[in-house]
């Protein structure tokens, strides 16, 4: 990047490092941090929506519907999550292709699973075979986001389901006594009050979500783990002007520090939010705040 970077072999240590850290590949590495942050920014609200939906379904008074919600929560929580990540990425892809196949090529009559192959007609391929590279990458990222949202949606559903039950019964009964319908009670009384109960669980979930982001690597996205492995591995003088030995340890140490800093910052921020939300609430936390203020 700098003008003196033309011949790295003659540079001093510090200048060499400044050139090394600003190569195109390193910018891709820095960009992959943005990938992680974008993933978090998209996944967190999506998972929350999934969770809200799941919890509302699980609360349903109609048996079979509530079983669907509870089943969703129970199944995702009972199995190692990595298995889910690996499973959903293929399963979702095949499900989408299968659905498109049924719609686009109805006249196709060969079986879709032939031995070890999964064959749909050309027009139903996702993304299309002739699509540019960025569409492939975006599609991969989209699948990853959806997978994260499904898995974390189940966790969030569990938290929200618990929070909904923690809202004092008397509140709901009062609403009923005022003649509110079930729907009104739900939206006007239950939902606004449950967040305080849900927040500790949700903030815990946020921490877990942060720590799950390296798993993007397993889903085939070029994330920070991918780049750390790529850049850190031994570089031969034949192929690069910045040869070095095996630096993967240093790169992963950097990732470790990044995550520690990230979780620390989140912890501080979430503590603040919790303090603000408990302000004036009829809970032990709110009571403690009131006493401290007096």
């Amino acid at each position: 990047m700098f003008s003196y970077c033309i011949d790295p072999e003659v540079l001093g240590q510090f200048r060499w490092l400044s050139c090394y850290l600003t190569t195109g590949k390193h910018f891709a590495f820095y960009g992959s941090f943005a990938t992680v942050l974008i993933l978090l920014a998209i996944t967190a609200p999506t998972a929350l929506a999934f969770g809200f939906g799941g919890a509302s379904i699980a609360r349903s008074r109609i048996g079979p519907i509530s079983w669907i919600g509870k089943g969703y929560i129970a199944i995702v929580r009972g199995v190692p999550d990595i298995a889910f990540f690996l499973f959903f990425v293929i399963a979702l892809d095949q499900a989408f292709e299968f659905a498109r196949h049924k719609v686009i090529c109805p006249e196709w009559n060969e079986p879709i699973r032939q031995g070890s192959d999964f064959i749909v007609c050309k027009a139903a391929k996702l993304p299309l075979g002739n699509a540019p590279q960025w569409i492939h990458e975006t599609y991969g990222f989209f699948l990853a986001v959806l997978t994260f949202a499904i898995v974390f949606g189940a966790f969030a559903a569990n938290v929200i389901f618990g929070a909904m039950r923690a809202v004092p019964k008397a509140q709901l009964e009062t609403a009923e006594a005022y003649g509110m319908s079930r729907r009104q009670t739900f939206w006007r009384i239950l939902v606004p009050q449950m967040w305080v109960f849900a927040l500790p669980g949700l903030s815990n979930l946020w921490m877990v979500l942060i720590k799950a982001t390296p798993l993007l690597f397993l889903l085939g996205v070029e994330d920070i783990v991918y780049w750390a492995r790529e850049l850190g591995s031994t570089k031969n003088a034949k192929f690069t002007s910045y040869p070095h030995g095996d630096w993967r340890m240093q790169y992963f140490f950097f990732l470790l520090v990044f995550y520690l800093a990230f979780t620390k910052v989140s912890e501080v921020v979430l503590d603040r939010i919790m303090k603000r939300l408990t302000h004036g609430q009829a809970t032990a936390g709110g009571e403690a705040q009131r006493k401290a203020a007096v």
Partner: protein, 268 residues
């Protein structure tokens, strides 16, 4: 080839006994179930050893974090923060490359680059940190009356810790600790996806499930099999911890005994 022959060939494939070549085509459900089950040996090994060794370390960490002394408290706090604040996946990667570098300097470290020891060390530290935090929380919520009563009876020092503090801490922490251990078993599936090589394709359950999913391009068979194994494993753990829970609570009146409430599983 009948299913029994498959079982005879592959039941201990993951630790190097039996048939060397993995099946390459015409995969049967029997083969998948056997090999994935064979991989479970690794998951159980990592889980059990890390759990038992981590338990001791966790008690030490909890006591350290609750201690008055600055020099005991800070290291415990940092240890717990380090392992709880970063993803296990990154810890595995870092540890593997760290051991690779150490191996070049000091040959003693060469076994640490293999999963059976290197990954075990990481899992040990990790579960020690997570359980240490749980035990620390329990230690703080021991009723003051219990300690005062112990003082009144003349307990002090080690005796008080062994007879009063420690059992009460365990009793209070037990439900959370049960979750943590289920959690740990799930976390063992990360080992072979994070740098640690599976020599001669001797991997854990998820390694084989992933192998089959890649080969058949059909995730709907191997992953449900894996899920079944893990649900069974979780039930066994819950049963075992339930028995311990009963024993820890046996002195309490019937209605005060706390049932184990299981809320398993989150990624770390």
């Amino acid at each position: 080839m009948s299913c029994w022959e498959t079982v005879a060939d592959y039941a201990f494939r993951s630790i190097g006994f039996g048939e060397r070549l993995l099946p390459r085509s015409d995969f049967t459900i029997c083969q998948q179930a056997t090999l994935i089950g064979s991989g479970m040996i690794w998951n159980v090994y990592f889980g059990v050893v890390a759990l038992f060794s981590g338990f001791v370390m966790a008690t030490v960490l909890a006591l350290g974090k609750a201690s008055q002394s600055f020099w005991l408290r800070k290291p415990s706090e940092w240890f717990i923060f380090l392992f709880r604040g970063s993803p296990l996946f990154i810890q595995f990667f870092f540890a593997y490359f760290l051991f690779l570098n150490l191996k070049q300097a000091v040959p003693i470290f060469s076994p640490f680059t293999a999963a059976w020891l290197g990954a075990l060390v990481v899992l040990f530290c990790n579960t020690a940190a997570y359980s240490g935090e749980i035990f620390y929380g329990a230690l703080l919520s021991i009723p003051r009356g219990d300690i005062e009563a112990a003082d009144a009876y003349g307990f002090s020092g080690m005796t008080r810790f062994r007879k009063i503090t420690w059992p009460t801490m365990l009793r209070l922490a037990w439900p959370a600790y049960t979750n943590e251990s289920i959690f740990l078993f799930h976390a063992t599936t990360l080992v072979f996806f994070s740098g640690f090589p599976a020599y001669q394709q001797k991997g854990d359950a998820l390694y084989y499930a992933n192998y089959f999913a890649d080969k058949t391009f059909n995730p709907f068979v191997p992953y449900p099999i894996l899920a079944g194994y893990f649900i069974m494993l979780s039930l066994i753990i819950i049963g075992f911890f339930g028995l311990m829970n009963k024993r820890l609570n046996r002195h309490l009146p019937q209605e005060e005994r706390r049932k184990l409430r299981i809320r398993p599983n989150m990624i770390r």
